[in-house]
Structures are given as structure tokens and as C-alpha cells.
Amino acid sequence: MELSQAVIDSLSIVGDSAHVPNKCYQRLLDAAFDGVVDSEQRNRISGDEAFGGVDKAALKEAYAGLVSCIIEATKHDTEAASLEAVLEDCKFTADRIKAFISSYQERKQILQILLGNVGVTPPHIVDVDWRLDYYIKNNHLEKVNQAVYLISLKTEVPGKPGIQDVQFSCTQEQLQDFVGKLKDATKCLEKISASQ
């Protein structure tokens, strides 16, 4: 993990107990981690009276430094030891380093899931709805008499709220073909996971 000088400077403010007193540190740390995980928590420090004695500009910079450090560390899956070295350079005390690392390890998994969802991917199938009809006749033809399935694939699209539908119809043979191919794909995955 490499941090820019600006981030190192900001982190040094967090490490400096003249700017961030001991009693505020844990609160600031929690606010930074919660802010990364939950977008609704992002403004929490601005109205928090616990930071009354802290200079607003320094507090803002400290918060930004922590958030950058958390995200960079998560992104590179940084080991505790190298994280420790970075924080030591920023004049963090052993207690502050320990608190940071335990919060980091506790939330690393969820942070990585969140970061993994950032980016461009095709619509991701999460569920499927189906309906079975028996097609009897139309205005040109009587006695059509065949099964028709209406399939609706439920997909999540990055950056779009809610579920998007992909709909199509298929006959029994076409669904057989579709399911056959899905089974092939499933089998392929099972083979790969079994061989590892």
C-alpha cells in the first residue's frame, strides 16, 4: 500500500493527540469506518458534540485521512504488519494502532464486498420468475396447443436502484435447451471447485 503525501499528512493529524485527543480518537475511528460502510453515516462527525473542542478544519482533514487509509488498505488487502508500519510513521501510539487494526480486521470483509461492487459489470442475475401458459389459438390459427413459458430474469445493475427485468418467452423445447445449457455451466463449475 502506498499513500500520497497528502494522506500521510492528514493521518499525522489523527496521530497527533494535540489535534485529536485520546477521548475522541475511538469515536472518530468508528465514525470513519461506519461512514465507509454506510452512506447515511457519512455526515455523522459534523453534528457530534464530542468533537466540540477539536478544530473543525483539523477534524475534517483527520476524517478524510482515515477514510483514505481505510479504503486503500482494503483495496490492496494490506497485512496488519505493513499497516502498522504506515501508522507508526504517522506518529500513531501503540494503542491507537491496535484500535485501528482491530476495527480494520473486523470490517475488512464487508468493506471488500462493497469495493467489489464498485465498477462496471453486466446486469447480474439474482433471481428468476416464470409462468406457464398453454397457447390455444390466435386470430390466424386454431388448435395451436403448445406450452409457452414466460421467463423473467431479475437482474441488479450497478448504479441503478432496484431490480431490472429481462423478459422473454420460450416453448417447452427452448426451455429444455436453456436449462440444459445452465446445467452444463453448473457442472463445469462443480468440476472446477472439486478439483481444487
Binding site: 442475475i125 406457464l132 429481462v166 418467452s169 455451466a185
Partner: protein, 199 residues
Amino acid sequence: MLLIFDDKHKEHLSFLTDTETDVVREFCKISMEFIRKGSNRKIYQGAAQKLKVDVETVQHGVEGLMYLLTECSKLMLNEIDFQDSILTLGFSEDMRQTLLELYLQNRREIRAIMSEMAMDLPHYQNLEWRFDVQLASRSLRRQTTPVVTFKLHIDDAGERETKVLQTDPVNLVHLTKVLDEALQEMKSPYCRRIARNIK
């Protein structure tokens, strides 16, 4: 089920009752050609000259035959119903046999042509899949995320559309299971009973 002809239709077909079976065969060939590709007046004129009758008579004969063939095919009349239906048209026994033979020969094709005309929903055509493991992205390095990517081909009234979709192994297993259940449902006693009773 019997097909009921109105008087005008009977009159149009009456011209054919006095001709040879070869003429009926030829007319049927023309009718099938027109059902496939649309009508062509030039052919009426040629036939009218050959048979020494009005162009209109030929046109009515062909159109009457086209109507007879399409209506019977539309209703999917069986052999007996077809024979009973044309009984009132005044054709000889030989001619009726010829018509029946021509009807049975062409029914499948006529139904295929008519089913193309019918309203259709966008339907499944093909599925391609591949399996990837995502290793890194701008926002997250050191990943091992299995991804199944699909290319779904959908046919919407002759227009091909492809959609790129993806899923993960857990959802793939779920998707396969749910759709397999859908497939089995058609084989259930309930669905089979309904299908059997709709004839």
C-alpha cells in the same frame, strides 16, 4: 367440426366442379404459390386463355380454393370433417379425394405460414456461457470472484437481440433449479390433464 361455406364462395368454386382433376391440381398449385408469395394477376390471364374462360372466373376459382385450404388448415379439420365439409360443394367423388389429398399434403405448410403471421412475443433463441474468475478491479485488488457470463440471444419478430448478463455460482445453481422445476411442471398430472382436454 364442419366448415360452412357461404353462397358466394360456393359459386366461386362451382367453376372447378366441371373441370378435370388435373385442372384442380394445377389450381391448387397456383393457390399454394399465392399463399406463399402473394397473388399474381399474370398467372390468372395465362390460365384464363388456356381454359378459354374469363380472367375473373379463374381468379375466383383460385381464391376460393385458397380460402378453402386456409380455413380448413386454420381449423385443423381432420379427414372426415374435411370430406363432410366439401360434400355440399358439388364435387365428384374423385375430385373430393383429390382435394383431400391436396389438403393433407399442404396443411402443414399452410399452418406454418399462418403461424408466422401470428403475434409473437420476444422468444429465446440461444444461450452462450463462459466462466471467468475476476482477479482485480480498480477499486479492489487481489480478488478471486467466480463469474459466469451469459450471452442471451432473443428473437423479437425476426429481429435478433443479444443481452450480456452475468451471475455468480450460487445464483446459477438457484436459476437452474427454479427453471428445471418450471420444466417439470408441464409434466405434472394437472398440466397433462388440462393439455389432454384441450383438443
